[in-house]
Amino acid sequence: MNINKPNLSRRDFFKAGSIIVGGITVATALTPFDGLLFATEPPKGKGKWYGIGIDINKCIGCGNCAKACKLENNVPKDPFYFRSWVEQYTIKNDGSVLVESPNGGIDGFKQSVPDEEIFKSFFVPKMCNHCAKSPCVQVCPVGATFETPEGIVLVDENYCIGCRYCVQACPYGCRFINPEKGTAEKCTLCIHRLDKGMQPACFEMCPTEARIFGDLNDPGSKINYFLKNHTCMVIKPNLNTGSKLFYNALSPEVR
């Protein structure tokens, strides 16, 4: 009987074999380049995974949060360096938008628009969004900025080279270069206080409890309660940064 055997010589076998083995080796060697897919990676947190909520309806623009942050974290006092600040939005009757933040709101606000011209006005506290897909972490050339397993984005100031690429990459303007240290600086969610079981300074100083933070992985946490009971939004959702700073009553004018 004539059986149709595939015509596979030893040579072909080795050829095919080496292609497969070589391919696997190359693919393995290329694994570090997974990093390039950074912004499409899902969040990794399994334990605590911190998220922040801010209720714009509750913010009275006292600026305590911004002041507390500067004091607690020894942030340079000049009005060019903020880890946390407050913006006042005034939407006029003609639809134009005025945004102000004198000294980050630390000294409070004065409304510069006459009452009769105002359609509505509100305060928006700003801080690091602790993004799950942080553009700043992605672009740091030495890995000095990183995300902790709890989802807090930090900078290792002993490692940062001060190239300022992260400052450029942050869509929310939350980073600056410390003029004395020459390295990048940003909100740490007061991790030094969290470690001691305390709240971040800005949360503690907020007189109206407009700020909430907690573990997004814990269904019973304050932050999850906040998210369930309010219609929350992040700033610039189109940028897909995986922001974990959720605002209640966020107007589309806020950027």
Binding site: V99, V142, I161, C163, Q168, P171, I177, E180, G182
Partner: protein, 403 residues
């Protein structure tokens, strides 16, 4: 330090509309304008040299050596503005030792080293090895030592060895062209990949950077060639310069079309950032964009070079025109980098306002420092031209080609 803060207060008084408080300070200043400018000159000069070698365009022969040495001179300086701009320059090596692979910037060190060590130095070495050995025999003292050292004490100038030099040099050139494209396309990616910044974030950025790089590199080599021949009181090789000028015209045209396409696309899709960018372009960027980059750096050179494609005045006049046009293009491309780097930081990412930029004369970020980093490559080039004069090379080099 206090001076810096004082400067920021001054800027604060010039803020128009609302900018995030951390945005008042411009993070990337003139040194970062120089970085893409200088790497662009390198890539462009190298590509011009490669045209001669790969496509055997012998009419470009007089500029081959000059182009390579120009590329090397600027390449040696390319990282200096970057490193001196760092907040912690002493940690710059970390970018090579512990690169963070998801960062576009982290790869720069490797792309740079690949280009400098593997491509440029090797190509120049293979090209000059025989000449260095010959020159070592004809000179004495330090020069002789330098030739010996740079030729790595090799002595073989048999036809076989020279043929091998040529063959390897040819291979390096072939690797070099995509490398030059990579180097500068990559520099564009550093900006183009920042999604937070709508002025930078365009997929065309690497391509635009690449073509503007080629334009600037070719203009530079043309200018250097004309100046050197004038200094040496030699007759200029007009067919060579005419050919370079025609390449310059076509590539400048492509560059212009690409940048035009980018702007038309922005205007047509008119995204959220449109208003802020529109006001930027017609406000704080008007002079550098429309006058310096557009009119002086693009439209005038395009019209002039275009006219010269079918109307050729006398050699002396042509030479003068080419000199002026090359200089204008170099100025224009400098402002193109300026408009990208500085322009991209003048508006707030809140899209509600603008900060301003003032540059001082002195200081690490001042005009003088920038001028210094632009002059150093020419000093290096003078030294290289003295040590490795391309015009003293034994000719017939690339005739012994691979196959």
């Amino acid at each position: 330090m206090t001076q810096h803060i004082q400067h920021l207060y001054e800027v604060l008084s010039k803020v128009d509309g609302y900018v995030y408080p951390n945005e008042i300070e411009l993070n990337w200043s003139i040194l970062i304008v120089l970085y893409p400018y200088i790497t662009g000159l390198v890539a462009g000069a190298f590509i011009l040299a490669s045209l001669e070698r790969i496509f055997k365009l012998h009419v470009l022969r007089p500029t081959y050596g000059i182009a390579l040495l120009t590329a090397l001179s600027f390449m040696l300086v390319a990282t200096m503005p970057l490193v001196s701009h760092l907040g912690k320059p002493q940690r710059a090596y970390e970018i090579m030792v512990t690169p963070h692979l998801s960062s576009a910037m982290a790869i720069f060190g490797f792309v740079y080293l690949w280009y400098l060590m593997v491509v440029l130095l090797l190509e120049i070495w293979f090209d000059y090895r025989r000449d260095m050995i010959i020159w070592a025999g004809e000179t004495t003292g330090l020069k002789r030592f330098l030739y010996r050292a740079f030729s790595l004490w090799s002595t073989d100038i048999s036809p076989k060895a020279v043929a091998l030099d040529n063959k390897l040099g040819y291979i390096v050139t072939i690797i070099g062209v995509p490398s030059a494209f990579l180097l500068h396309g990559y520099v564009g990616f550093i900006f183009g990949s920042i999604k937070a910044n709508p002025w930078w974030s365009t997929v065309l950025m690497p391509v635009i950077f690449l073509f503007s790089a080629i334009v600037s590199g070719i203009a530079l080599v043309m200018l250097v060639y004309i100046v050197i021949t004038s200094i040496r009181k030699l007759k200029i090789d007009m067919p060579c310069v005419d050919t370079i000028a025609s390449y310059l015209f076509y590539i400048l045209l492509i560059d212009f079309v690409l940048e035009g396409l980018d702007q038309i696309h922005r205007i047509y899709i008119a995204e959220e950032s449109f208003d802020v960018l529109h006001n930027l372009v017609f406000g704080r960027l008007f002079f550098t964009l429309f006058i310096m980059q557009g009119l002086i750096g693009t439209v005038i050179p395009l019209l002039t070079l275009g006219t010269l494609q079918f109307y050729k005045p006398k050699i002396q006049i042509r030479k003068a025109i080419y000199t002026v046009i090359a200089a204008l293009i170099l100025i224009g491309i400098f402002f193109m980098r300026w408009n990208v780097v500085i322009g991209g930081q003048l508006f707030s990412k809140s899209f509600y306002g603008y900060t301003s930029f003032k540059i001082g004369l002195i200081g690490t970020e001042g005009y003088l420092m920038a001028a210094f980093w632009l002059i150093v490559p020419f000093i290096i080039l003078s030294f290289l031209l003295w040590l490795f004069p391309p015009w003293k090379k034994k000719e017939d080099d690339h005739e012994i080609q691979v196959g």
